[in-house]
Symmetry: C2
Subunit: 553 residues, 2 copies
């Protein structure tokens, strides 16, 4: 049985969730080479996948590799909204009545098999999202699997904190009453998981598996231009469900098109009781406001700020920051965007460095990265969407027009894919005190605003105000005074934001560790779903009890 | 410090929440005698209470004793909606920054002081709600305190499962990165607790204290005709907050009138992030649908069913059922309403008893209770509201007109208060197969419908259909076959309802034990808030983290 097979892993994950020390459930995945990746894509070229029993029309998804510019040419025999809902309803009772260990076992085995197929998943992920193959093995590979396992372990811990039964005895007046009570875990209802185009696994695995572990049938709706990696994951889960003698339709893939999206219709169906959404703030906040009486979990985006106060080694910090701006071409919800530099410059172990020199150091670090093709390719990957490139071009033109342009987002030269939608960071320099304006909210892609500010205090005030208005998922500070870090952390916490200080290392600054880092606080506009706190789990299941009086006990 | 004083109690409560065995944190409260109760009321006659620092107009509440018919004549210097919200905002940071133990300590000490003042609270509760003095000491006394303590312990357990800090170390490439991480509990925001007229403490204590323990400022809005008992509780909490050097306005009393209600305005204020409501299904479902992006916890009402299949001792079962119908004049959300009796009668140890004889036994048991004034007074109490009496009269007239009336709800003779709004159960007999209709949803007050049905299977089908449509909070079965109980429990569970079987004892059938019985499943229309599962707690707080890299560690 799958549960027993993976029980040791599950226990270790549950323990890591409690201690929050560094831990991983999955060995590193070795990236495929280019030929292997091409071979993976070739196997799907022209294929038609059916990942639900109810099947409606065939949709050929608009999936185009950001590296080759070629269509993946994969079709999906996808259910209509009504068919998908009916399919979920049809399996609900069986899934509900399966015991917890069977459902949890399916989740664990599915994670295991996805891990085993890591290189294949990485190839597909890279050619749909634009992630580099190495990132597809880590961020969308082991890290995503760890976040999935984290959620399964949290769900298992929560469910097993409810005892299965108890003999209850109490005196009422002269007589003692004994009741035999049972407590049973029951799912809330059909769940919808909406994944985003650029990072579909990291948020979707936790949502899908938390739902499945707690007994809720899941409809998975990937972004219409980034379907295949999610389809493969759904396929694995369906395969494991079947082997566990559970209905495959406990998880169904729903595919739509950009022209005829179905997420809103699904989310507002009375049958759908849980929605997990990763994507744009606009649709996320629409869901939060227009889908009442439903558990709505959102992770959208915000303005991630960096305050430069003081550092030991400026070059090291700028290398880290350049890496943070470049990583996956700024298409992560944790990418820094607004970088505050005080008028007095930045204090370092080698003395104060003037602001212009700090700026120069950052630009130089970006150029160094962009100028090394193999490294640039591994770090930057490619832009998932042509629309992001247009948006960056517009921002560049505007900055050039108003004299704030510092660095053009010129493409780096991809060593393997000359057609890649490659880009390096756009850097703009603004001074709000001079009337320069910062755009509202996140600018998707590698876009950095260097913000001149009076000092650290005013930088923090400006940054936290932007967080209150637009949200933030990750915030950064460089400061050598621990007491000041405490104060700044308090200010960010009061704005509902977490803070990372002094990240200068080979760890990407936006790295969020499963089992340790709580991702999204739920206290600012960037989303309400925390990976993974108890509120991400608790409402997905409820408890029904029965009690019967025991005579003469 | 209050936390240390009550730590042993808190630990025991947390343990009881896990094991769900019988346990109580509070010794029984001795009811006041009539003179003592009168003396309590006299101390408030003409008083004006101020239970918030921001104070607006003085409202003399429309509180009339269901026993004496006299006005309590208590006024409240209550804040306006804007004042209350501003008052909550003003204290939010201080409450948030107080450590968990201080806030939890306040909750525990407040429960302790309310318990110490048990007889005084009971007198006020009786003369506002109509509960008997003995019930006011148990249901609104120790049981409500236990439910409050249960919620505090659940909140404490949930918060302490998050470690305060961790040293996290992981290798990235050639270097090892050490991060010192802190995890801090943060409240969601201003909370509104709306209490009901007839049972204000039982649901409000858990909501108020869960909010307070997790750091959310609370606005408590009692029913305009049942304010004083809640006001006293708020007063105690404010007194303890002050002694703990926390702002008293962390809990404020908001008083409105039936003519100018403010709950909807408060609930939809963007500042209010949590709403706990106990009351009518109409307003509860309005809240569920019209207050998006807010944690909404509801407990309303449903159709509580009883299926009579078989019993050992029919008389004992009918005595229990008569008590259940009479207890607090049917004004509890757990009161049975629709009682199914099969065509073939009910099997007993003494042979099958025909339906007419079962009916006669039930009516006889009700009459026995109603005819014993002291016992009737202790069990039935009085009707909180004149409107309930009107509704019962209408139902009686309708039943008389269509020939379904079995028993008139004649008043019992209250031995101490001849003016009491006393009533005994109305019993109506219907056969849906003959075209008789059952009213939609709960009929508040002592109203029982005896429903003729073909057999147990059809009774369960009819009952669970009504639960799917109208909800249920408690459901009952009498059946001597354990395997059949399992089947019926499954059917009720599938309808999202809990089930109690074969309750025949001195324990009131609707008794729900804190720490053991989950109250409200959240899986049917009778509400979404379970006392007390983890979903009642989890979202009331979130976690912000900070992490800083440790050099050379």
């Amino acid at each position: 049985m799958f549960f027993e097979t993976h029980l040791e892993l599950l226990r270790a994950a549950a323990q890591a969730n409690r201690t929050r020390v560094a831990w991983t459930g999955y060995a590193p995945i070795t990236p495929p080479d280019l030929a292997q990746a091409d071979a993976v894509l070739a196997t799907f070229d022209g294929a038609t996948l059916a990942l639900s029993s109810p099947t409606g029309s065939v949709i050929t998804a608009d999936e185009i590799s950001p590296y080759t510019g070629k269509a993946l040419n994969v079709s999906y025999r996808a259910p209509s909204v009504d068919q998908a809902l009916a399919g979920a309803a049809a399996v609900a009772a069986t899934l509900r009545d399966a015991d917890i260990e069977r459902r949890v076992g399916v989740c664990l085995e599915a994670l295991h098999r996805i891990h085993q197929r890591g290189p294949e998943f990485a190839a597909v992920t890279a050619h749909t999202t634009g992630q580099s193959l190495s990132m597809a093995c880590s961020g969308s590979g082991t890290n995503a699997l760890d976040r999935g396992l984290e959620a399964v372990a949290m769900a298992w811990s929560a469910m097993t904190r409810v005892p299965g039964q108890v003999s209850w005895r109490q005196r009422f007046g002269k007589s003692e009453v004994t009741l035999r009570k049972r407590f049973r875990i029951r799912p809330l209802g059909t769940a919808l998981v909406v994944a985003c185009a650029s990072f579909p696994a990291w948020n979707a695995y936790p949502a899908i598996l938390a739902n499945l572990a707690t007994g809720n049938p899941v409809l998975v709706k990937p972004h219409p231009r980034s379907v295949l990696a999610t389809a493969l994951a759904v396929g694995v889960i369906r395969e494991v469900l079947t082997e566990a003698q559970l209905p495959a339709d406990a998880v169904q893939l729903v595919v739509d098109t950009a022209e005829a999206p179905v997420a809103g219709q699904l989310a507002t169906s009375p049958q759908v009781r849980i929605v997990d959404f990763t994507g744009s703030p606009t649709f996320g906040s629409w869901l939060e406001r227009n889908v009442p009486n439903t558990l709505v979990f959102t992770e959208t985006a915000g303005v991630n700020t960096v305050v430069l106060d003081s550092v030991s080694d400026l070059s090291a910090a700028m290398r880290t920051l350049a890496g943070g701006l470049s990583l996956f071409s700024g298409q992560m919800c944790t990418t820094p965007q607004n970088i505050y530099i005080p008028d007095a410059g930045v204090r370092t172990d080698a003395g104060v460095v003037a602001r212009d020199d700090v700026v120069a150091a950052l630009l130089s670090a970006i150029d160094d990265l962009a100028g090394a093709p193999r490294r640039a390719a591994a770090v930057c990957g490619a832009l998932q969407s042509e629309a992001t490139l247009h948006s960056i071009t517009s921002l560049t033109d505007a900055a050039e027009a108003n004299g704030t342009l510092l660095r053009r987002p010129v493409p780096y030269v991809h060593p393997d894919y000359p057609q890649a939608r490659a880009v390096t960071p756009l850097v703009v320099r603004v001074d709000p005190r001079q009337g320069d304006t910062l755009p509202d909210g996140e600018q998707f892609g590698p876009v950095a605003f260097l913000v001149d500010c009076a000092d650290t205090v005013s930088a923090v005030a400006h940054a936290t105000a932007s967080i209150r208005g637009h949200g933030a998922i990750s915030s950064y500070l460089y400061c050598t005074d621990d007491a000041v870090i405490d104060e700044v952390a308090d200010a960010y916490a009061d704005a509902g934001a977490s803070l990372s200080a002094n990240l200068v290392s080979s760890m990407p600054m936006q790295f969020a560790a499963a089992y340790s880092d709580y991702h999204v606080t739920g206290l600012n506009p960037a989303g309400n779903a925390t990976l993974t706190d108890e509120s991400f789990i608790a409402g997905r299941f409820r408890i029904v009890q029965d009690r019967r009086q025991v005579e003469g006990a």
